[in-house]
């Protein structure tokens, strides 16, 4: 069988190299190469979607290679695997990455200077983003997670707006701090968790990994619980599948459930969990670690904003679901109110800030903060609706925020001015553009028949109906739907309706061109399709989420 996931990761990386070494006079082909590669990626992602077994409980399209194995004496054996696979939570993200990176590639056609660097970095980013979503080994995940920083830093820092240096360094530092937290926990987990299969091999119980049986794993876990395995025979692992099983924790390790190590009132497990949450919340971003986002968006060129909002933010929410929650389920339940509260406050706080914005792009950046708050709220509820709704909301926001930033880019590419006050009554001069803006705004404010509605409704429903959370948190979050309508409609009123007036000559403001329509139209179709047929995504996520929820009972 074809190693599709590896192809997804390495195809863009290889072509990034190709672009790097091609002679200068091929510059005009760089964008076409990028488009072609992301196009193939999209086709592969769609293939994954259509051939995904919706009823299977295990990871699919798995690939596993031993990567690094180090005997560490009394510290046991260290093992890092090249382990890939997808389930119902990562598949929507992979699909979204395929869509967003492809659209971003079309949008990148407007980049005119230093094309070699730009398109090379863009492909590098594509590979590492997808790597992040398919990695099942935490070390590998972390590798891709860090690796994304590099292209993003340069894409904002070189091709960005006037304050690009500030924005890119801010983005860099924030994310780096976040990944530092994750790194700490990762090391702790590594020291605490063993791979029962490799350990069995190490103990000589079986000759080969293929001989493993479920009974044997239970037996190993039993021995581990009784402390009967010699330290040098313990094979430590970064495998996320093993980390999610409490039976694989070494008895006297710090992160074992029964460990009594504590700092003040917090157990080590609680601290580890909160560190992970903080690390991923920066990426999401949640209040109060969100301020890198508006700056990064305002300075980033349009396609980079599209990618940033469309897919990079989702890694935060994905990290909650893939790493923090399954490994520390009891902490997740314990801190549900805290996380939900941050989510609800993000919704309202982001919306209020959006209301105060004079820069269209900044307004949309804050609306992202608000919309990602729903994800946090839904995840915190630990209910089928909440978690499915959160994944749905991430997917939906990926599509809609990509559209929103493309639409801002349309105006910016014409006048280099995004101030809301600089325009009025655009509807009469740019009717098609206004049509798309109105559609996207209404979709973003959670109107039924668009994907955002499903995500918002069910994250709220989940949060309302879980015994874990007090009702007022949901009520607070629900205020976001009124405020959301407020800032979007107010912007529509100020910029698009009324009599035409602009600081710029009319000749500078032609309606959408063909390339812009090609980008926007399919996204609009997707937003509507996923609004009317939620099972398109829910059929994929349902089984995985049901299984995910069993960790919490």
């Amino acid at each position: 069988m074809m190693p599709i996931l590896s192809i997804l990761i390495f195809l863009p990386l290889i072509f990034a190299l190709v672009i790097a070494v091609l002679p200068q006079h091929y510059t005009t082909y760089f964008k076409w190469i990028t488009l072609g590669v992301t196009g193939v990626e999209l086709v592969l992602c769609s293939y994954l979607y259509f051939s995904f077994d919706k009823t299977a409980l295990s990871y699919q399209f798995q690939e596993q290679l031993d990567w690094i194995t180090l005997p560490l004496g009394a510290l046991g054996v260290g093992s890092i695997d090249y382990l890939l696979g997808i389930d119902g939570i990562s598949l929507p993200m992979v699909l979204l990455a395929g869509i967003v990176m492809f659209v971003g590639a079309i949008s990148s056609f407007e980049i005119k200077d230093k094309q070699r660097g730009y398109f090379g970095l863009y492909l590098l980013l594509t590979g590492s983003v997808i790597g992040c979503f398919v990695a099942l080994d935490m070390f590998l995940f972390y590798l891709f997670f860090e690796f994304m920083l590099l292209p993003m830093y340069f894409l904002i820092g070189i091709w960005g707006g006037p304050r690009k240096e500030y924005a890119s360094i801010k983005f860099f530092i924030y994310t780096l701090v976040g990944s530092l937290f994750i790194l700490l926990v990762m090391i702790g987990l590594y020291l605490s968790v063993i791979d029962p299969v490799e350990t069995a091999v190490q103990m000589g119980l079986i000759m080969d990994k293929s001989q493993v049986t479920p009974e044997l794993i239970t037996q190993i876990q039993q021995l581990l619980a009784e402390g009967k395995i010699l330290p040098e025979q313990l094979v430590h692992t970064f495998d996320l599948r093993f980390m999610a099983d409490a039976a694989n924790f070494v008895g006297d390790s710090w992160l074992h459930k029964a460990a009594e190590v504590a700092m003040g009132d917090f157990s080590i497990r609680a601290i580890a969990f909160l560190l992970l949450i903080a690390g991923f919340a920066i990426k999401l971003p949640a209040i109060p670690v969100h301020t890198w986002l508006p700056d990064a968006h305002v300075e980033a060129p349009t396609p980079v904003s599209v990618v940033l909002a469309g897919i990079l933010l989702k890694i935060g929410g994905y990290g909650f679901l893939r790493i923090a929650y399954p490994i520390f389920p009891e902490q997740a339940t314990h801190y549900a109110s805290l996380i939900a509260c941050i989510g609800a406050v993000s919704i309202v706080y982001g919306a209020y800030n959006a209301l105060a914005m004079k820069d269209l792009k900044k307004m949309i950046a804050y609306s992202s903060v608000s919309h990602m708050g729903f994800v946090m709220l839904g995840v915190a509820s630990i209910t089928s609706q909440g978690v499915n709704g959160a994944v749905y909301q991430m997917f939906s926001h990926g599509i809609l925020s990509a559209m929103l930033f493309l639409l801002v880019g349309v105006l910016y590419s014409r006048t280099h001015d995004r101030q809301i006050d600089s325009y009025q009554g655009l509807a009469s001069k740019m009717p098609v553009y206004t049509g798309f803006v109105a559609l996207t705004f209404f979709a973003s404010l959670g109107l039924p028949a668009f994907s955002g509605f499903i995500g918002e409704f069910f994250t709220l429903a989940g949060a309302f109906n879980t015994p874990l959370l007090p009702k007022w948190i949901t009520v607070l979050g629900a205020f976001g739907i009124v405020l959301g309508a407020g800032y979007f409609l107010w912007t529509l009123q100020r910029m698009f309706f009324g009599n035409f007036w602009s600081k710029y000559e009319l000749s500078l403001l032609p309606d959408l061109n063909v390339r812009e329509k090609i980008m926007l139209f399919p996204l609009a179709i997707l937003a509507i399709a996923f609004g009317i047929f939620p099972q398109l995504l829910l059929d994929v996520t349902n089984e995985t989420v049901s299984q995910f929820l069993t960790l919490f009972v």
Binding site: P288, T291, A427, L447, P448, F458, Q493, N499
Partner: protein, 630 residues
């Protein structure tokens, strides 16, 4: 034909109409209106076919799976009970008349295609609300109604006031929807994870759930304190007002209350009736002070919606919803005819064609419109022989009946009588101002005003017929004989005849008319302050201020904290660099320097000068001798 196919046809016809209209676009401006009108005609015929479909039992319920969460399915379905059937016919009928009327009214608009397409979307959303069996799905269509109203109220998007009004309508409705949304969550919670309407009432629910759901009604049906959007919504084209005020949108709220009636506790009913009562009195009071022909009607709608709520979502409410739909659609379309006629006559002049102070004496030039207007007004005022009399009396009788066990409802009944008086008063006053006296517009002569074509007249005629009492009861003086009761609910108890109340209400109405007539020459120059200023002060400005403050907080506190943290790091780094260069590097550097100095010193000792060596040697020798001797 299978009823479910008919239902699908009814629901999807306007959606297809919307799609077709938008696809044809401005290039086919002329035909879009005809096509969509045809679509509505088709839908109406289908709805009638369904109504007279003998195979349909009293209540029919179809359920389809939509999607699911884990093992929890989310379903949607159709519920066809008499209430639904009535609404289906009503919505399509009014929509058809409105579109017919609009053929002339919107004849010269360059964006006609958009207008007719949006009307279809509006009808589609409303039919969705009417047909669904499920509160979640209803919420979805509910929001689509909000969208449609936004698009239609703001249809003339170059007009700043229209856009403002559209935004206001949407936002105020969203506030109500917030309650609706939470109410649905509540139903889901208490009703074993189901939001199916047919299961409502099988489990007990706290009062608050019903009241939260009622929040949705307060938004759409413009109940106090969320009533402020409705008068502003007059910024849309007049036929749209007719549609909004009669069959769609505002009717949705009353319909919702009728649907959730089983879960409304007694406390909830008291709250609802109280809100309705306040709204009724407030609306009719405001109506008196309006000089815009449409605004009087708008406030009158607010008031009548309050009256419908005083029927508490029972059959009485629904009946008033029906009769009101006909006479209010008629009033708006007649007002539209007046505006259209004045607009045509005076299109060379700048003037407000809706200002009643610039009208007067129009009965001679617009006799047909006048006659219809009289009928509609009489029905609104609740005079005998007209439909409004029957429905209003039922609500009154119902209230006094409830009052026997709870005197609070008796007081509400008296409030309704006051409302009747006010209604008769402002309607008479408006009829006198518009159609009697002298023509007060000096810009052009009244002789240039003339009636419109049959497309304008026919809808009026039909609605006028439907506003009479004979249509609903063979005895138009007696609400107990209305055939509608049997249609809506064959199990319903016979409504007790209460001649006293009927008589009193007629007397009160006539008193209102008389008062209006006697005070016809009094010009009202003052107006009631609206709630807009208050809301602006209490809600809008604080929200915007809070938004600005939070933005400042974001920049000055959050960002400042982060930047300070970074600055602190930079400062620490500088300090470290200084320490590094001064001390850490200082030690080896110092050592090196020390070595250098020593080297220099010692080098100077070994300067290669023989005299120095000799002196040193001698000194050393001297020292040695000294040591040895001592």
């Amino acid at each position: 034909m299978n009823p479910v196919i008919l239902i699908w046809l009814i629901l999807l016809t306007p959606l297809v109409g919307f799609g077709v209209g938008m696809t044809l676009g401005r290039k086919q401006n002329a035909v879009v209106g005809l096509i969509t009108t045809g679509f509505s005609g088709l839908a109406l015929v289908t709805a009638l076919a369904l109504l007279f479909n003998n195979s349909l039992p009293q209540t029919h319920h179809w359920v389809f799976d939509w999607f699911s969460f884990g093992s929890m399915p989310v379903r949607f379905g159709f519920l066809a009970d008499p209430l639904t059937l009535m609404m289906l016919v009503l919505v399509n009928f009014i929509a058809l008349l409105v579109q017919l009327f609009s053929q002339d009214y919107m004849h010269d608009d360059p964006d006609k295609y958009r207008y007719f397409s949006f009307l279809q979307l509006f009808v589609f959303s409303m039919l969705g609300i009417v047909l669904t069996d499920n509160l979640f799905v209803m919420y979805a269509f509910w929001e689509l109604v909000g969208l449609s109203s936004y698009l239609l109220i703001g249809f003339w998007y170059q007009k700043a006031t229209a856009v403002q009004a559209a935004k206001k309508a949407f936002l105020v409705n969203r506030v109500g929807d917030l309650g609706f949304l939470l109410g649905i969550f509540g139903v889901y919670f208490y009703n074993n994870g189901s939001t199916d309407i047919t299961t409502l009432g099988t489990t007990a629910m706290p009062t608050v759930v019903g009241l939260l759901l009622f929040g949705g009604c307060m938004g759409k049906s413009a109940q106090f304190p969320l009533h402020t959007w409705l008068p502003d919504a007059m910024e849309g084209p007049t036929p749209v007002s007719a549609l909004i005020h009669a069959a769609t949108m505002v009717a949705a709220g009353i319909f919702l209350v009728a649907r959730i009636h089983p879960i409304l506790t007694v406390d909830a009913q008291v709250v609802i009736a109280t809100v309705g009562c306040i709204t009724m009195l407030l609306g009719s009071a405001y109506a008196i002070f309006q000089t815009d022909i449409k605004k009087t009607l708008a406030y009158s709608t607010v008031s009548q919606l309050g009256l419908m709520l005083l029927g508490l979502g029972t059959e009485a409410s629904v009946f008033h919803l029906l009769t009101h739909a006909f006479f209010k659609a008629g009033l708006f379309l007649s007002a539209g005819a007046v505006i259209h006629a004045l607009h045509h006559a005076g299109h060379h002049h700048e003037f407000d064609a809706q200002d009643t102070r610039l009208m007067g004496g129009l009965r001679k030039k617009l006799p047909f419109t006048f006659a219809c207007y009289l009928i509609f007004s009489a029905s609104l005022a609740g005079l005998p022989l007209f439909s409004g009399f029957l429905s209003k009396d039922t609500i009154l009788a119902n209230l006094f009946h409830l009052g026997e066990s709870n005197p609070y409802f008796t007081y509400l009944g008296f409030a309704v009588l006051l409302g009747v008086f006010l209604t008769a008063f402002y309607m008479t006053r408006q009829v006198l101002t518009v159609f009697f006296g002298e023509f007060r517009n000096t810009l052009f002569a009244v002789s240039t005003v003339h009636e419109g074509s049959w497309k304008l007249k026919m809808p009026l005629a039909l609605l006028a017929i439907l506003s009479t009492g004979f249509v609903f009861s063979w005895n138009p003086f007696n609400a107990g004989h209305v055939w509608f009761w049997h249609f809506l609910n064959p199990m319903m108890e016979e409504i007790a005849e209460n001649h006293t109340i009927a008589l009193v209400s007629v007397v009160v109405g006539l008193a209102g008319i008389l008062t209006a007539y006697l005070t016809r020459n009094k010009v009202i120059t003052y107006s009631l302050p609206t709630f807009d200023g208050l809301y602006d002060f209490l809600l809008v400005q604080p929200t915007l201020t809070l938004a600005k403050q939070l933005q400042r907080f974001d920049v000055q506190i959050v960002d400042f904290a982060v930047n300070s943290l970074v600055s602190l790091q930079v400062a620490l780094a500088t300090l470290a660099a200084w320490l590094d260069s001064t001390f850490i590097d200082g030690v080896p550097n110092g050592l090196a320097t020390g070595a250098g100095i020593i080297g220099k010193v010692t080098r100077s000792v070994q300067g290669g000068k023989v005299q120095v060596y000799i002196v040193s040697a001698l000194l050393g020798l001297g020292l040695l001798i000294l040591l040895l001797v001592m």
